[in-house]
């Protein structure tokens, strides 16, 4: 029994050949759609798998700002301690020639470390054994049994920027030789152990915790800088951590100052890092209040000079405190006091009255010049001056002899310390001390005083003045002195403070908190860019092309069945019923096509990934980016394909069923006359509007600051122009009066062929639109392909004029272009080029040559501050949620340079040097620059947008993008001024990034010498051209992949063209046969068809290229070097392919015998 369904099925089967084309079109659409979504799945799945692998089961991690006792981990559930340090490695041999490796991650572990490592030896010992990951061993050329030299930053207690800290390489880094006991296999998970969502493969090495602790701190006490937790919720961990933290874990220590003089002792609460952050001081004061005891914050500072006229005291110690504090916290409790006592005013000073003081016997009100060092010394240091007013003298007795006001500083406050042995360049160099405080012929009183009384302050300020003068980003107060309750023993007070103080300290603000690292990495594994969306976006054209082809094929198939449709209508089928029947048939075909497409989508995904990975510059990506799939993607791919196919089918059926049945019965498939003319009239109105709108959009786009809106405006304008071009073509095709085709030979044939192209305007335009869109994609994408341009190395070029960008594992504290830093570099080079020997290092000829090369070729260098974080460049497939931040010095800001895409500059000065924008803070937001690509694709931000990152104290800090750079080597970070950097990230000491300018062509030599010199710091320099080229290679990989999609689209367009030409020839077979009967040669007829084909190709390519050229205008205007030759070759290839296909398509059919063809007519 025939039913509707049966009829549909029967029709679908009977017209299988026609339907196969439709089915293939749907399958292509489904494959492309599903494949694009699968690319997204693959990225997410691969990154998630990589995140799992690199975490090694770690759920949460606390990265501590300073070494903390390792036993803390035992008090926390499922937690192990790791002394995690950045480091460097050198292979055995001469430092000048041995292989070096920077950016090494050193894991100091003990037996608590999960036993995934194939570990030999005793990991609880201080043995000098090291396990290398396969990657490290390969790069270093090391194997088990070899010796390697490991370098790490020396973990001192003083901030390196304090005036008493040592900053040269030998003081700030430490190296030692280790035996390689094991090289991990390439697939060992420990080789990938890493906590950052970064693309770079980690360079992991493992050493015993105690031995690393001894190397870095000088003591074998097990300490850790990371706590890794497996399987305990972060909130629970943080709660437990807070409860288990001891005061010492916050970097706080107690000294009981059991004074013999005065009225008893006090407890000095001091920082292990010399100064307290303000919040810690507040906590200590709060704890004292809770314990009902008195506390006085105290500032002690080593100054350069106290002077009154020509009289001076060199290197005095100055204290800032409340001079009126009650005993035992006042230094002047025994001194003569006015009644009532007056507190020291701002900028007033009381001097210690000691017997040999140069400044005794000055009248109150005398101006005292205080010369002191800038509290933050990195580089050459800076002396500052303050003019103080003498209030009076403090008698040198009782509490005023309190040397313990000065916190413990090794080498300064030790019982055997001597002033002359201080050697802290640049501010306290030994030679300068010896010059100003000579021992001979007569001992200088300052030296004698220090020998006898150590660090007793010689001048007192009030706390506010001291805080104002000696304020540093780490804090200012050196101690908080706490007085015991009446009759309370100091050790009891310490006990009470130890118990109370943690209640008033914020572990998070102190950097003592667990981060849900697993959750963070999994969030990051969703990808910096939505690959699914991106590939879907670029595949959209391909999908639309496939669907257009589906519509075209279906329409062509239906046109062959026009008489049947006419009959059905004549038989009483309503238009709706016929449409439903045809759509049902189309849908049945689409279902099969979509299912086939799902399978093909898997292959398509593999193809795209394969192409992308082959082109991706970092081969490491190939190790983890694998195909992944989810059921949801298949469901989406299937469902969306069906819906879109149905729309395409509906459009192709819609027009056909409107044709009157008699016309259909005659085999006609279009409505002649009135409707076409009506459509043409509408187009005559719409086309000029689109043209004007497109032009207006492009012109208006030039005045838009926001790059996204500007790009949208240009692209929209280009699209409107394309639409206008196609509309005009349609008007031409449908116009009733064409020039009379007349004449002879090729030109007449060409005219006839041109007319034939207009025979089926719908089909012809569809084909042209397909080709136009593909050409648009190819040209637009190709125009975005870039390489460092000719101007790259200019000051206003992408590199800013710097041909090297370097980073070090451990910070350098002295810029190396001049002064102390340069001297340090030369010292290190001298050691590297000298034979190993004890004592004075000789200057070898190799060193002299190296020094000469350096002097000749190193033109300038800027040291930048770097706060580590996620690589926000396009090379990172992970989502960068905490990008790296660079702090650039004022000198670089003043210098300017680099190439900008857009800035928020308003004044002429800012326009001339946009770097000035970095110095202007707008409210709370810190102004920053970043690379345009990074802002647009990774951070999804534009000019004026804000980005929030946690500062060193855990609080969120807002950064505002005030400019974007183009072709710069800074693609993985935000750039702010050094001043803002140090405010926001006070714990980030020293310089870890460097911009270097060398003589042209000498960058390789300079890089090598710098890497040798700073080998212990893991210094690694990369040519900026190479770095930028590597980023551009990533962009190129994307572009090539997208061009592949454009190529597929073009293939579909050319296929569509072939179908249309074939169909047209088939329909005109009788007509062509008649022409042959009249004496036309086959070649002439083929020429006729090829002209028709050429017109459509030219229309498609021409309008597509024009549209693309307009839409990429802003990019070209920004100085892009468009590869015109390559583009021309590409389009020439397309043109050739179009002709070849048309030639092949028509060659056979034109040879059909004349008589049968005429009979068909």
């Amino acid at each position: 029994m025939l039913t509707f369904t049966k009829l549909v099925a029967r029709s679908a089967a009977y017209h299988a050949r026609g339907n196969v084309a439709v089915l293939l079109g749907v399958a292509v659409g489904s494959a492309v759609l599903t494949g694009a979504l699968l690319v997204g799945d693959s990225l997410r799945g691969s990154l998630r798998a990589r995140a799992e692998l690199q975490l090694g089961g770690v759920e949460a991690a606390a990265f501590l700002p300073r070494p903390v006792r390792a036993e803390l981990a035992d008090a926390l559930p499922n937690t192990i301690p790791v002394l995690l340090l950045p480091g460097s490695l050198q292979a055995a041999g001469s430092p000048a020639t041995a292989a070096r490796l920077g950016r090494v991650t050193v894991f100091g572990i003990d037996e608590r470390y999960p036993p995934s490592l194939n570990m030999k030896g005793d990991w609880n010992s201080t043995s000098k054994q090291i396990v290398l990951s396969a990657r490290v061993a390969e790069k270093l050329g090391a194997k088990a049994g070899d010796k390697v030299r490991l370098g790490v930053e020396k973990l001192g207690e003083l901030p390196r920027s304090s005036s008493l800290a040592e900053r040269d390489t030998d003081s700030s880094t430490v190296t030692d030789e280790f035996d390689v006991v094991t090289v991990l296999s390439a697939d060992a998970p420990d080789g990938d152990f890493n906590f950052s969502p970064n693309p770079a493969a980690p360079l992991n090495v493992f050493v015993p915790l105690r031995s690393l602790a001894r190397l870095a701190t000088g003591r074998p006490n097990p300490v850790c800088t990371a706590l890794l937790s497996y399987g305990t919720p972060t909130d629970e961990l943080n709660a437990t951590l807070r409860a288990k933290l001891k005061v010492e874990d916050y970097g706080i220590k107690f000294r009981d100052i059991d004074r013999k003089q005065g009225r008893g002792g006090y407890v000095s609460v001091e920082s292990t890092e010399l100064v307290f952050p303000p919040r810690t001081v507040e906590g200590i004061e709060a704890a004292a209040r809770a314990l009902n005891v008195r506390a006085e914050p105290t500032v002690v500072y080593v100054a350069d000079t106290l002077a009154a006229g020509a009289k001076e005291i060199p290197f005095p110690i100055v204290a800032g405190l409340n001079t009126l504090a009650e005993s035992p916290l006042s230094p002047i409790e025994l001194g003569p006091q006015p009644a009532p006592p007056l507190p020291l005013g701002d900028d007033e000073v009381e001097l210690l009255q000691w017997p040999d003081s140069e400044l005794n016997n000055l009248a109150p009100g005398t101006k005292i010049r205080l010369v002191y060092f800038d509290p933050e010394i990195e580089g050459e240091g800076l002396k500052r001056e303050a003019l103080l007013t003498l209030r009076g003298y403090v008698p040198f007795k009782g509490a005023a002899r309190d040397k313990d006001l000065t916190p413990e500083i090794p080498g300064v406050t030790d019982p055997r310390a001597e002033l002359r042995n201080w050697n802290r360049p640049p501010v306290l160099p030994k030679a300068e001390i010896e010059r100003r405080v000579p021992e001979k012929p007569k001992a200088h009183p300052r030296g004698t005083f220090f020998t006898q009384h150590k660090a007793v302050p010689m001048a007192y300020l009030n706390t506010a003045t001291a805080r104002k003068l000696f304020k540093s980003r780490y804090g200012t107060d050196t101690s908080v002195r706490v007085a015991p309750a009446d009759g309370e023993a100091l050790d009891k007070l310490i006990e009470r403070l130890q118990a109370e103080l943690p209640k008033h300290l914020d572990p998070k603000a102190a950097g003592l908190a667990f981060d849900p690292i697993r959750e963070r990495l999994f969030t990051a594994s969703k990808g910096g860019t939505d690959f699914g969306g991106l590939f879907l976006g670029f595949s959209l054209f391909l999908i639309v092309a496939a669907l257009m082809l589906v519509g075209l094929m279906f329409r062509l198939a239906l046109e062959r069945r026009a008489k049947q449709i006419g009959l059905l209508l004549a038989t009483g089928y309503s238009v709706r019923a016929v449409r439903r029947m045809l759509l049902a048939e189309g849908l049945a075909v689409a279902v099969i096509g979509a299912l086939i497409g799902l399978a093909a989508g898997v292959a398509y995904n593999r193809l795209l990934l394969g192409v992308l990975l082959d082109l991706w510059p970092d081969s490491e990506v190939r190790t983890y980016l694998k195909p992944h799939a989810s059921a949801l993607t298949f469901a989406l791919g299937f469902g969306l394909t069906l819906v879109m196919s149905l729309v395409a089918l509906w459009f192709s059926v819609r027009g056909l069923v409107k044709v009157p049945p008699p016309a259909l019965l005659r085999g006609e498939t279009t409505i002649p006359g009135a409707s076409a003319q009506g459509s043409s009239r509408r187009l005559r109105v719409f086309a000029p509007l689109a043209l004007v709108g497109g032009a207006a959009s492009i012109v208006a786009g030039g005045g838009i600051d926001n790059p996204d809106f500007r790009a949208m405006s240009f692209f929209g304008g280009g699209a409107l122009l394309l639409t206008a071009a196609l509309c005009f073509a349609r008007i031409w095709m449908t116009r009733t009066r064409h020039r009379v085709t007349n004449g002879r030979g090729a030109s007449a044939l060409a005219q006839l062929g041109t007319r034939n192209a207009a025979r089926n305007p719908g089909r012809s335009l569809l084909t042209a639109a397909l080709i136009a869109s593909a050409a648009f994609l190819l040209v637009a994408v190709e125009s975005f392909r870039r390489q460092p341009d000719k101007e790259f190395l200019n000051e206003k070029g992408g590199s800013g004029g710097f041909n090297l960008l370097a980073e070090s594992s451990s910070p350098l504290f002295q810029p190396f272009d001049t002064g102390l830093g340069r001297a340090d570099l030369e010292k290190q080079l001298r050691k590297a080029f000298a034979p190993p020997a004890e004592g004075e290092v000789p200057e070898t000829p190799d060193f002299q040559k190296a020094k000469a090369d350096l002097n000749a070729n190193l033109e300038s260098a800027f040291a930048l501050r770097l706060r580590g974080g996620d690589d926000a460049s396009c090379a990172n497939l992970f989502q960068a949620s905490r990008p790296r931040v660079l702090g650039v010095p004022q000198a670089l800001i003043d210098r300017g340079g680099f190439k900008f895409y857009i800035t928020a500059a308003k004044t002429p000065e800012e326009k001339a040097n946009p770097w000035l924008l970095l110095t202007k803070r707008d409210g709370d937001a810190i102004p920053v620059f970043c690379e345009q690509n990074t802002a647009q694709w990774m951070l999804k931000k534009g000019i004026g947008d804000d980005y929030t990152l946690p500062g060193d104290d855990g609080r969120d800090v807002t950064f505002r993008i005030v400019g974007t750079l183009v072709d710069s080597p800074f693609q993985s970070e935000l750039i702010c001024s050094e001043a803002h950097f140090t405010q926001t990230f006070p714990k980030q000491a020293g310089f870890r990034a460097f911009l270097v300018r060398t003589k042209p062509g000498a960058e390789g030599d300079v890089a090598r010498l710098l890497e040798i010199g700073f080998r212990a710091s893991g210094f690694a320099a990369t040519p900026t051209r190479e770095k930028v080229a590597s980023y551009q290679a990533v962009i190129g990989a994307y572009l090539s992949t997208f061009q592949l999609l454009g190529g597929f689209g073009l293939l579909l367009g050319v296929l569509g063209l072939a179908v249309v030409i074939l169909r047209g020839v088939w329909e005109r077979l009788g007509e062509l046969a008649l022409m042959r009967a009249m004496g036309y040669r086959t070649r002439a007829l083929q020429f006729l068809v090829l002209i028709e084909n050429a017109l459509l190709l030219a229309l498609g390519l021409g309008s597509g290229v024009l549209c693309a050229a307009v839409s990429v205008a802003p990019h070209v205007a920004s100085g892009a070097d468009v590869p015109f030759a390559r583009l021309a070759a590409l389009l020439g290839l397309v043109l050739t392919a179009g002709f070849v296909v048309a030639f092949a398509a028509t060659a056979g059919i034109l040879r059909v015998p004349v008589i049968p063809a005429l009979r068909r007519e």
Partner: protein
């Protein structure tokens, strides 16, 4: 049942202005009437047939079938009207090659709102038996001769018992024997069904078989 045309005209727009194909055609046919319309090519015969069959809308004038003006109906109702009231036989049989003989006859029933499938199938079998194809029900059109295909087309036109049966050159593609056979068949079935039968033909032999003959000339209709 009656078919009444009153001053029906039909014009087509051309680049040179409207082209009149039917000019004030009036016609009245009662149930049981069979008429043949002849005339030269381009005289408007087929257009008239298409207007009668509601496939084409007249430019002016009215068409009433059994008192109903089908052109006053909406698209859906018009289709239903045509399905129920009008049967077509064309010069080209337009059989669906993918369907069997019986299925082809049943094609109109698929969209009929008033018939029962079992009844229509029985009637289709009956019709096919009456046109001499009772033994060829499962055959495909490709397996039939030209005359047989046209007989299937006649059966298909009658399967819903239309009040008006229209045939456009039904024997145009047939040889004389087959043409004679199809003409007789049309008339025989017309007598059995008592519908209005209008045949447009160039064939004088076919026209002679009809009791009423009309001639179309330059868009006007006259008694032959």
């Amino acid at each position: 049942m009656s078919l009444v045309l009153d001053s029906v005209s039909k014009e087509y727009p051309t680049r040179s202005g409207p082209l009149a194909v039917l000019r004030n055609v009036s016609l009245a046919l009662d149930a049981g009437t069979a008429a043949a319309i002849t005339g030269p090519s381009g005289s408007g015969k087929s257009t008239l047939l298409h207007v009668l069959g509601t496939l084409d809308r007249p430019t002016s004038g009215t068409v009433k079938l059994d008192g109903t003006d089908p052109f006053a109906l909406g698209e859906r109702d018009l289709a239903a009207f045509r399905n129920a009231k009008v049967g077509f036989v064309f010069q080209d049989h337009h059989l669906l090659p993918q369907c069997s003989v019986l299925e082809n006859v049943l094609i109109p029933t698929l969209v009929s709102a008033t018939t029962k499938p079992a009844d229509t199938e029985a009637y289709a079998r009956d019709l096919l038996a009456r046109v001499g194809l009772g033994a060829r029900l499962d055959h495909r059109p490709a397996e039939l001769s030209g005359g047989e295909r046209q007989r299937v087309a006649v059966a298909r036109a009658l399967v819903l018992k239309p009040a008006l049966l229209l045939a456009d050159e039904p024997t145009g593609n047939l040889d004389r024997t087959n043409a004679q056979s199809v003409g007789e068949l049309l008339l025989k079935l017309h007598e059995q069904e008592r519908n209005v039968l209008v045949v447009v033909t160039h064939s004088a032999d076919l026209a002679k078989m009809f009791p009423r003959r009309l001639e179309m000339n330059d868009g006007t209709l006259h008694a032959a």
